[in-house]
């Protein structure tokens, strides 16, 4: 499969920037997720475990311990809404409700068209403009229910 070959190449590049043993494993898992529906499938995990000479169980352990990783495929766009107290007290729950309504899914789920996965996250460190969320690498602040409509619409239209 092509993607596996691509991953192999990328992992080799990443490994060459290793300063000390293992210090690029987390980075290689980030790269894997970019290639495989925001997730780390077992065939990708095998490659990383071979390349870095660590047991595959360790890769599984990492993939399930850190909240940015997933072993199951996720949507094309990852929506992470901050649920920490600073966003909570500035109408965060309203935004959570609105996101669920707009996407018709609950947190932890993916839309039927595979476009969005909705997740919560701990503080994103942009509390100056809370409530905040990130979609993939992009952050959105000062959220209002109206803004949610507009943002989701932009992403949906980008697909057409």
């Amino acid at each position: 499969m092509d993607r596996i070959q691509v991953l192999k190449g990328k992992i080799k590049d990443i490994e060459s920037t290793e300063m000390e043993k293992g210090d690029m494993i987390l980075s290689s898992l980030h790269t894997t997720q970019e290639l495989f529906e925001n997730s780390i499938p077992i065939e990708a995990a095998k490659i990383i475990s071979d390349e870095f000479e660590v047991k595959i169980e360790r890769i599984y352990e990492l993939a399930t311990f850190y909240s940015m990783y997933s072993t199951k495929p996720r949507g094309k766009h990852l929506i992470r809404l901050c649920e920490s107290l600073p966003c909570h007290v500035v109408e965060g729950p309203q935004i959570a409700k609105k996101l669920k309504e707009t996407l018709k899914i609950d947190f932890g789920q993916t839309t039927k068209d595979g476009l969005f996965t909705l997740e919560t996250t701990s503080c994103l460190g942009i509390c100056g403009v809370g409530p905040v969320m990130m979609i993939d690498g992009e952050a959105y602040g000062n959220l209002t229910p109206q803004k949610i409509d507009e943002i989701i619409k932009t992403y949906r239209e980008g697909e057409k």
């Binding site: 987390l26 360790r58 850190y66 909240s67 920490s84 107290l85 503080c123 460190g125």
Partner: protein, 539 residues
């Protein structure tokens, strides 16, 4: 060639979200269209420190601030101010209205944030022009022990929350004998409500590189790591660029300043785990393992990253170093209190009029921070409580506003912690707030030790029941007992700290907790009673 006019746009993560990049592009296009690129310079800088409504921009040499809310505003400023030389009165703000009131503007002290909002963080030249890397040049002429004596004498203590004396840490790492040592910058900023490290990394990345290099020389390390939160994309990019630039001009890498000292710095992203903020868990994570804390002792100064002596400091701690080397320990000691020297960068958020960061001398009171700089509670509501120091910090009632905040203020029930100041207005419910705190602990517990893993879940379940109107009177002492026991028996600082927020919240709002039990509704109307069971999500 020097330009006639300079316009500064703040492009840190918070300002970006307020639209600053978009406005900058509009301004750039206008300047270009009018062939004014030769005389107008547009500079991207770090945070001005505050986030009200709209984006503040600064115009030099006039030294005026405008608040921009739309591209139309930018056009108006361009046409009136730049073309015709007329001030646009209705967009103009007096600097003291931008956030800090006169009172606290007076006290604002910029040591850590000396360059943030003043220089373009993407340009190493600007950092150098502002005495950047001068401290490194000076340090390389000193003996390591001399540098450490300055840091020790300054009284600087760790700004990550624990407050360990920085100079002592450096000295211990220097004294550890080893073929290899590391300098580690803890940029895994995860304490909810804390965004100072992000603003330092994005607004003045070279100060961290310079400080880490000085540290490397002082303790005898060759490699530096910056472990930064995986979600901080913008910060990662900025610090990486700064490292590349420093390498290009020889301020990092082989034989720095022609000395025989060589030092390398690399960035490693995290992957979303609050517990990794613990120094030993961070080391595990950096080694490519799951981030669970190690047993201490041995301490990292002897046995740290890859088992080698490691100096680990927080971003803000490092940002102090070049200033101290340049200005001396005496100048540093002039700020702050007897046991808490220097300044602290406070992050202000929640229901406060002006959110943002402000650097004030240690020992500033909460009133000065919240009412002086922050402009008080937003939307004219009443102040219910303040949480200081992050989610692991204390909940404080308004009657403690006049208590000075420093490392010692925990004796008066106020955590300094990471410097987060969360303002909570009277439309919030104490039980709901407590539930959110418990959920945070439950989610972030790494699972290594039982009291933390099971206990935090239990507290959350009990608070959840209370918030649904299904609470029983015996739940309350049980929550307090659990919080105490988790704190006493947990392995690391995460579990050990849960008593601080939970008990301070309960003690301040006992009546409100009790009022939820056997009642028909939540006193503030926040908690939803008697609804279908909401599934408790756990990840």
């Amino acid at each position: 060639m020097s330009k006639v006019m300079t316009i500064l746009f703040s492009l840190d993560s918070n300002s970006l979200l307020n639209g600053s990049k978009e406005y900058e592009e509009v301004m750039k296009a206008l300047v270009k269209d009018h062939n004014m690129s030769e005389i107008v310079e547009i500079i991207e800088t770090g945070s001005f420190g505050f986030y009200g409504k709209g984006v503040p921009i600064q115009i030099l040499p006039d030294d005026l601030y405008y608040i921009v809310n739309s591209s139309g505003d930018i056009k108006e400023i361009f046409e009136e101010h730049l073309l015709k030389g007329r001030t646009v009165g209705h967009l103009l703000v007096e600097p003291y209205n931008l956030g800090p009131a006169n009172l606290s503007k007076f006290k604002e002290t910029r040591i850590v944030l000396r360059n943030v909002g003043f220089i373009d963080p993407n340009k190493i030249d600007e950092y150098i022009a502002n005495d950047g890397y001068k401290a490194l040049a000076l340090a390389l002429k000193m003996k390591p022990a001399e540098i450490i004596d300055i840091i020790k004498d300054s009284g600087l203590r760790g700004r990550g929350g624990a407050g360990f004396p920085t100079g002592l840490k450096w000295e211990m790492t220097l004294k550890s004998k080893s073929d290899k040592k590391y300098v580690l910058c803890n940029a895994d900023e995860g304490e909810p409500g804390t965004f100072k490290d992000r603003l330092i990394l994005e607004g003045d990345p070279h100060s961290i590189i310079e400080a880490m290099t000085i540290a490397g020389y002082a303790i005898g390390a060759q490699i530096g790591y910056i472990y930064i939160r995986g979600e901080y994309y913008n910060s990662i990019q900025k610090i990486q660029k700064a490292i590349d630039d420093a390498e290009k001009v020889g301020l990092l890498g082989q034989n720095i300043f022609g000395s025989d000292f060589s030092f390398k710095i690399t960035v490693r992203p995290g992957a979303g785990a609050y517990v990794v903020g613990d120094e030993t868990a961070l080391m595990e994570s950096l080694e490519g393992k799951i981030g669970r804390p190690r047993l201490k002792p041995p301490y990292p100064t002897d046995h740290g990253l890859y088992g080698k002596p490691t100096l680990i400091n927080n971003v803000e701690t490092f940002a102090n170093i070049p200033w101290i080397i340049l200005n001396g320990s005496k100048a540093f000691k002039a700020y702050g209190t007897e046991r808490s020297r220097g300044t602290k960068v406070f992050s202000l958020m929640g229901n406060i009029a002006n959110r943002g960061v402000v650097e004030l001398p240690m020992g500033t009171t909460l009133r000065e921070i919240i009412y002086g700089f922050g402009g008080g509670v937003a939307n004219g509501k009443g102040l219910k409580m303040i949480q200081t120091g992050g989610t692991a910090g204390t909940f404080v009632l308004p009657n403690k506003l006049d208590t000075p905040v420093d490392y010692e203020s925990i004796k008066n029930g106020i955590s300094l912690g990471s410097g987060a100041v969360l303002v909570i207005d009277d439309e919030n419910c104490a039980v709901d707030v407590g539930k959110k705190v418990a959920k945070f602990y439950m989610h972030e517990s790494c699972g290594k030790c039982t009291p933390c893993r099971e206990g935090t879940r239990e507290i959350h379940t009990l608070l959840d029941e209370i918030s649904k109107g299904a609470g029983k009177v015996e739940y309350l002492p049980r929550i307090i007992e659990l919080a105490r026991e988790i704190s006493d028996t947990s392995f690391c600082g995460l579990g050990q700290s849960i008593n601080i927020p939970v008990i301070s919240l309960y003690e301040n709002f006992k009546d409100e907790f009790i009022a939820h039990i056997g009642a028909q509704s939540c006193p503030t109307g926040v908690c939803e009673f008697e609804k279908a069971k909401v599934k408790v999500r756990s990840r």
